[in-house]
Amino acid sequence: MTRRRTQVLAPMGALALGAALFAPFAFAGEIYGRVISGNAAAPAGTTVAAKCADADYPAKPIDAKGAYHIIAGRTGKCTLTITMKGQSATVDVVSYDDPVEADIVLDTRDGKLSARRR
């Protein structure tokens, strides 16, 4: 009886311990917002990629309303790379334990794309 109880409880204990250890990372580092170009959502095909410390997060396309969403999974400084019509620009954003909203405004000056946080 005791052996069977141990057999059942051991994996559950390990699961609980794992959840407790990794819970802060599971929800940390969520960055979301909109990419705006010329007072409207950036055109379809625009992508947002992120680099937080040594971790790279692949580029994802924005939706029809310009929204993007990245689960970085870690806190600290991140660099978002926004690519629109073959040109890229970067903007720095800090990711926290809580989700952080970062709207990005794209601008083209002298034919060069620039990005800033709004």
């Binding site: 600290g76 400084k77 954003v93 809580d98 709207d103």
Partner: protein, 290 residues
């Protein structure tokens, strides 16, 4: 011998009583219809009166309930006895969820934060997390509603970099915002950080953009933390609009601020407009539109 009656005379004999009958019928129809219209109008007025009476009674009952609730909760904070922390946290949660639109609760939040820091209670971290969660939830809720009527932007601060500047502070990139067809430039300088209480001391400057309409510059210095709710804690600009700075995220190395500017009408219930603001609004509304 009588005169021979023509067709018109015969018709008159037949139609005279019919005409009388029709006139009587018309009078009756008009009377009935008129009385029906009057009844309908009276019923509508009675319904409207009943509805407004019910609404005002409900309002009165709610006000009375809120007053009693406020008095009993506030007393728990003002009593000199220490009181148990669990009740204080619960009372603050009740206050915050029910009165966040009409009361500035920052002093109570800070007071409880200080009590928790001193208390030897093993659960104090959990209590601290609870009051922080309430504050963040309320700020997020208020920001969501204010951003729909105004304009906002966000900035990150590197706390280590800020501390290196000493008392000179750190300038954040200014942003042009538009509220009710008025454009203003909002600039923020972060002067100091209190890591223990998670507060930033900032200077807010709101001015006209270059070439824009003349607006008196507004400057204000204040501290910003998680317990500053934008609806209550905001800066009144010369044109009656408001700008609020709120803490949206915090870590050991960084902090994020959200700056929201919105029309004065959406400020809290405790915020009364100046008479000249009201007069200007009325004049603007009465003026013919081009």
């Amino acid at each position: 011998m009588g005169e021979k009656k023509d067709l018109w005379d015969k018709a008159a004999v037949l139609l005279q009583p019919v005409g009388g009958g029709l006139a009587a019928l018309a009078v009756a129809v008009v009377g009935l219809r008129g009385s029906q219209v009057l009844n309908d109008r009276q019923a509508a007025e009675t319904n409207a009166r009943l509805y407004s009476e019910l609404m005002s009674r409900r309002e009165e009952a709610e006000s009375s309930l809120r007053k009693d609730m406020l008095v009993s909760i506030i007393q728990s904070f003002l009593r000199p006895s220490a009181g148990d922390l669990d009740s204080l946290v619960l009372n603050l949660e009740l206050l915050a969820y029910n009165f966040h639109e009409s009361l500035n609760l920052k002093p109570l939040f800070l007071d409880l934060q200080r009590r928790l820091a001193k208390a030897p209670d093993p659960e104090r971290e959990e209590y601290r997390a609870r009051i922080d969660r309430v504050a963040r939830e309320i700020t997020a809720r208020q920001l969501f509603s204010l951003e729909g009527h105004g304009d906002s932007f966000r900035r990150s601060i590197d706390l280590d970099e800020l501390e290196k500047t000493g008392r000179f502070g750190l300038d954040l990139e200014p942003e042009e915002v538009q509220v009710d067809n008025t454009r203003v430039v909002v600039a923020l300088r972060v002067l100091e950080v209190d890591r223990r209480q998670q507060q930033l001391f900032v200077r807010l400057t709101v001015s006209s953009p270059e070439g824009g309409a003349e607006l008196t510059d507004s400057r204000a210095m204040f501290s910003v933390g998680f317990y500053d709710f934008p609806l209550i804690d905001n800066t009144r600009l010369a044109n009656g609009q408001r700008c609020a700075v709120t803490m949206s995220a915090w870590s050991k190395t960084n902090a994020d601020l959200t700056i929201t500017c919105f029309p004065g009408e959406y400020a809290s219930l405790k915020d009364r407009p100046y008479i000249d603001e009201v007069m200007r609004k009325l004049t603007e509304q009465a003026a013919p539109k081009p």
